[in-house]
C-alpha cells in the first residue's frame, strides 16, 4: 500500500465521518445562532455571528433537570451493579441448578418492548403512589441495564482463571470474601462497561420518563427538552443548546472510555 493510496483513504474516511456527523454539527451550529437569523434563507452554514442566549436559557431553566438526570443515572448504575455483579459471579463460577434457563430468561427480557414495560409499571405505580418519583424512574430504567449487566458479568467472570479463586479458598476466604477481594478487583473493566451503559441508558431514557413522570416536580433533562419543544417552536437555538448540553455525558464518555463503549456494543454479539 503506497502512502499515496492511504492518504486518499484517509480523506475518504474523513468525508464519510463528516457526512455522518453532520446532524451533530448542525445541532451545535443552530444552538449558537441568533433567533433573528434562525429564519434566514439559506440557513447560516456556520455560526459567524454567534450568540450564547440559548445557553443562558439552558442554565436558567434546565439546571435542575440536569441534576435530576444525574441522580437517576447514578442511582441506576448503583442498582444495576448491586444486582448484576453477584448474579454474574454465581452464573459464571458457582454451582447452581438451572443456569442455562437463567441466561435464556435474561436474553428474552431484553426483547420486551419498553412501551409494554412502561404500561406494566404505570399500572403498578399508580397503586403504590410511585408515579412522578425519582426512585420509580431509577427502578424502571434499571430494567434496561440489569439483563445486559448480568450477561456481561457472566461472560467476563467466566474468563477468570479458576486458580485465582482456588487460591483464595485455600487461604480460607469464604465465597463473599473471594468475590469482594479477588473477583471484583479483576473485573474492573466489566464494572466500568456496565456502569457506563447503565448511566447512558438512564440518562437518555425518554419512554419511562414520559410515561411514569409526566407531572413530577423533578423531571429528567429528556423531558425538559420535550416540554421545551412543545412550548417554544420558535426558540430552536435554546432547544438545540439544551440538546448540546444533554449530549455532554455521551461525548465525555466516548472520549474517556471509548474502549469500553466498543466492547459493550459487541458484548458477545461476536466472539472475541
Amino acid at each position: 500500500m503506497t502512502p499515496q493510496r492511504t492518504r486518499w483513504k484517509t480523506a475518504l474516511g474523513i468525508f464519510f465521518t463528516a457526512v455522518m456527523l453532520f446532524p451533530v454539527y448542525w445541532m451545535v451550529n443552530v444552538s449558537l445562532t441568533k433567533t433573528s437569523d434562525m429564519r434566514a434563507d439559506p440557513p447560516h452554514w456556520f455560526p459567524w455571528n454567534p450568540t450564547f442566549e440559548g445557553y443562558v436559557d439552558v442554565f436558567n431553566q434546565q439546571l435542575p433537570n440536569l441534576m435530576t438526570s444525574l441522580i437517576i443515572g447514578l442511582g441506576c448504575v448503583l442498582l444495576t451493579l448491586v444486582i448484576s455483579a453477584p448474579a454474574g459471579y454465581a452464573l459464571a463460577k458457582l454451582r447452581l441448578p438451572g443456569k442455562g434457563s437463567m441466561s435464556f430468561l435474561l436474553l428474552i427480557a431484553q426483547m420486551i418492548p419498553s412501551v409494554v414495560m412502561a404500561m406494566g409499571f404505570y399500572a403498578i405505580y399508580i397503586r403504590l403512589g410511585w408515579l412522578n418519583t425519582v426512585g420509580g424512574l431509577i427502578v424502571a430504567n434499571s430494567t434496561i441495564a440489569v439483563p445486559f449487566g448480568v450477561l456481561l458479568f457472566t461472560t467476563f467472570m467466566s474468563g477468570i482463571p479458576q486458580e485465582f479463586i482456588q487460591a483464595a479458598k485455600v487461604d480460607g476466604a469464604n465465597t463473599w470474601r473471594t468475590f469482594r477481594s479477588v473477583v471484583l478487583p479483576v473485573s474492573r473493566n466489566a464494572i466500568l462497561t456496565v456502569s457506563l451503559f447503565a448511566f447512558l441508558w438512564a440518562w437518555s431514557d425518554f419512554i419511562f420518563a414520559s410515561t411514569l413522570n409526566r407531572n413530577g416536580d423533578m423531571i429528567p433533562i429528556t423531558l425538559g427538552i420535550y416540554a421545551y419543544i412543545g412550548n417554544n417552536t420558535t426558540q430552536w437555538n435554546s432547544i438545540m443548546a439544551t440538546a448540546v448540553v444533554a449530549s455532554i455525558p455521551a461525548a465525555v464518555l466516548l472520549i474517556v472510555a471509548q474502549r469500553y463503549v466498543a466492547s459493550g456494543v459487541t458484548a458477545g454479539a461476536v466472539k472475541d
Partner: protein, 328 residues
Amino acid sequence: MRPTLHTVESPARTNATARTGSPRSGRGEPGTRRRSSAQRWAALAFIAPLIIYLVVFYAFPLYRNVELSLHDYTPRAFVQGNADYVGFSNFTDVITSNAFGVAVRNTILFTLVSIGAQFTIGLALAVFFRNNFRLSGTLRALFLVPWLLPLIVSASTWSWMLNSENGIINSFLGAFGIGQINWLTSPQWALVSVIIANIWLGIPFNLVILYSGLQNIPGDVYEAASLDGANAWKQFWHITLPLLRPVSAITLLLGLIYTLKVVDVIWIMTTGGPGNASTTLAIWSYRRAFGTGQPDFSQAAAVGNLLIVFALVAGFVYLYLQRREERS
C-alpha cells in the same frame, strides 16, 4: 441502545448461554470435589437479588400487562382495579380496527427498510475501515456518536433539519431546484422521514458489530485470493460475505428486535402522524396508553402483547442461529 437509541438500545448477548447451559461445553470445575451445602447456599445468596428483581420488576409488570389486555379497563377502573374480564375481545377489537392494517404496514416498512439500509451502509463502512489507514481508529470512534446521543437529541435535531420552511435539508435540495417537501407534515413523507432518522441512528451499531466480525476473518484467506487474482469485488463476494454470514444473521435479528420496539424517535418527530401515516404498532400502543388524554390501557396492552410475540419469535430464531454457530 438506543436502539431508541436505542432505540436504539443496545445489543447485549453473550455466549454465556452455551457456556453455562450445555453440559457438553467441556468447561467447568473439576467434578471430583464434594459439594458442600454451604457453597450451594452461597451460590443461591448471590443469585437471589437477581431472582427477586426479575420477579418483582419484570414478571409482575408483564403479568399486569397481560391482565390489562384481558380486561376492559376504563381510566376509572384502572385506579380502582375492578375491571370486567372480557377475554380476547380487546385483541379482536384491535385487529379489526381500521388503523391496524396501516400500523402493520408501517411497522413492516419501518423495520425492513431501516434494518436493510443500516446493515448495507454499516457493512460498506466496516469493509472500508478494515483497511487500516491514518486516523481510521479515531474516525471509527466518532461514528459511535449518533448511537450514544440521547434519542430526544437526535430526533429533535432531525426535526429541525427536516423543517419545511427553515430546514437545512429543503434548503440543500432547493439548491438543486427541488421544491419544498413537507417532510414531517405530509402523509407520504412522514414515514420516510422517521425511517431516514432511524437509519442514521442504527448505522453505528451495525458498523461496530460487523467490523469486529471482519476482524475475525484471517488475513491470509484474502492473501491467497489475491494471489489467485481475485479482485476486491470478487473477494468481497466470495470470501467476506460467506464468512460473515453468522455475524450478519445475528446483527440483522438484533436490529429487527430493536427496531420493532422503537417509540421515541417516531413519537418525538411526528407523534405517529399526520393521521396514522407514521404510526407503527409500538407507537399505536404508546399513543393509546399515554398519548391522548383518554388512556385506553386495555387496547394498548393488547397491541403491546402482540409486539412481544413478534419479538419473541425473532428472539427464538436468534437463539437457534447462535447455538448453530457455536456448534460449528
